[in-house]
Subunit: 209 residues, 2 copies
DNA sequence: TGCTCTATATATAAATC
DNA sequence: TGATTTATATATAGAGC
């Protein structure tokens, strides 16, 4: 959908392939977001570029965000979580905001695209390295928390379902008991009735049982 | 894009939400397929419906397929205790290969604690860097896989519970219907019996109802 | 990359079967 | 659910900055 109809094969021109990747990737994410909102479903998307870079998308709505907060407050108390998660949490507060990270990605991608990294000084590179590391920590931390959160949400769902299930089972048991009592009453009733009815109505009784 | 512009919020009408889900889901998958072909990237999509059903999409080389296979065999082999992340973490630490990593951490911590890193040669440092990077990759990969496993397992559980729930509900409905029929029969029976019984047995009948 | 613009190609909402 | 149809809404290719 554009000026020209594209053949469904790898775009050879590196530049326009990159442009298309960028456009369509965001388009796909947008679509995913819409689908998750409109239909109330959870969606996860992982895109690995040929260079191995990972782009991901995750949804769950603000339900996840709220659960995330609850989870975070519990996190302190429940330190039984794996060490690396805990470690990542410590780093999380230390490092810069995501704006910095966005800028970093921009810079790095441009620099990696054109091999002019030689122009950077050792100090520049060290700085870049630190920033990248920080960015990675942030991403990992956020990803981990999102996934942990998803797990937590699912556990809660599970609990609720099991509870509901138990209630239903109890209800059934209760109904069965009632039914038994009713049946017994009917049997008893029938016995009494048999003693007092003529053959005509006994015929109806047999039909009932 | 359609006869009407949709508001970006959950579609309330269950039926049309389902239709939209179906259409947009396939649309999303198609887009993903196109993106993966045009730009030569690997894409994985997981969609969890509110009822817990999983729709997935995978593309690209056999990278994802392999990951999935690994996941499958992993599930088969370790179904026993792979119920959730926390328990799997225990298992996690049992892996012998991570001892290397533990040692590495120790070394690094010691070296970072006391700034005597100068004593290490550039070659040493490069080697150390490589090992750390490799260890990190292993951990991250395994962690991600474990969490994905956990999520998947939980979603499966959820599906099963919902199914069971539905069955129980049906059962209850059926029992209620039976009960109604039985009551009707009793009422009818009572009417008949009333016409043929003496006052003594009618007393018993009233007790029943 | 990131935007903008414009012409077109696609996706899809609603209705119907 | 799935297929079709039709009217519209969106996405995006290509070009330029």
């Amino acid at each position: 959908m554009g000026r020209k109809k594209l053949e469904m094969k790898k775009i050879e021109n590196k530049s326009s392939r990159q442009v298309t990747f960028s456009k369509r990737r965001s388009g796909l994410m947008k679509k995913a977001g819409e689908l998750s909102v409109l239909c109330d479903v959870e969606i996860a998307i992982f895109i690995f570029s040929s260079r191995g870079k990972l782009y991901e998308f995750g949804s769950g709505g603000d339900g996840l965000a709220k659960t995330l907060q609850r989870y975070q407050s519990h996190l302190e108390a429940e330190r039984k979580f794996s060490t690396d998660v805990y470690e990542e949490e410590k780093y999380h507060s230390k490092y810069a905001s995501f704006q910095t990270f966005a800028e970093l990605l921009q810079i790095v991608e441009r620099d990696l695209g054109e091999p002019n990294m030689e122009q950077l000084s050792l100090t520049d590179l060290t700085q870049l390295e630190k920033q990248l590391d920080s960015a990675l920590r942030q991403i990992r931390s956020r990803k981990t928390r999102l996934m942990m959160d998803s797990v937590q949400t699912l556990h809660q769902k599970e609990s609720m379902l099991i509870e509901e299930n138990d209630l239903l089972n109890e209800e059934i048991t209760a109904m069965e008991n009632n039914r038994k009592q009713a049946d017994e009453v009917i049997v008893g009733f029938n016995a009494i009735a048999n003693n007092h009815m003529n053959s005509h109505s006994r015929h109806a009784t047999l039909h009932v049982l």
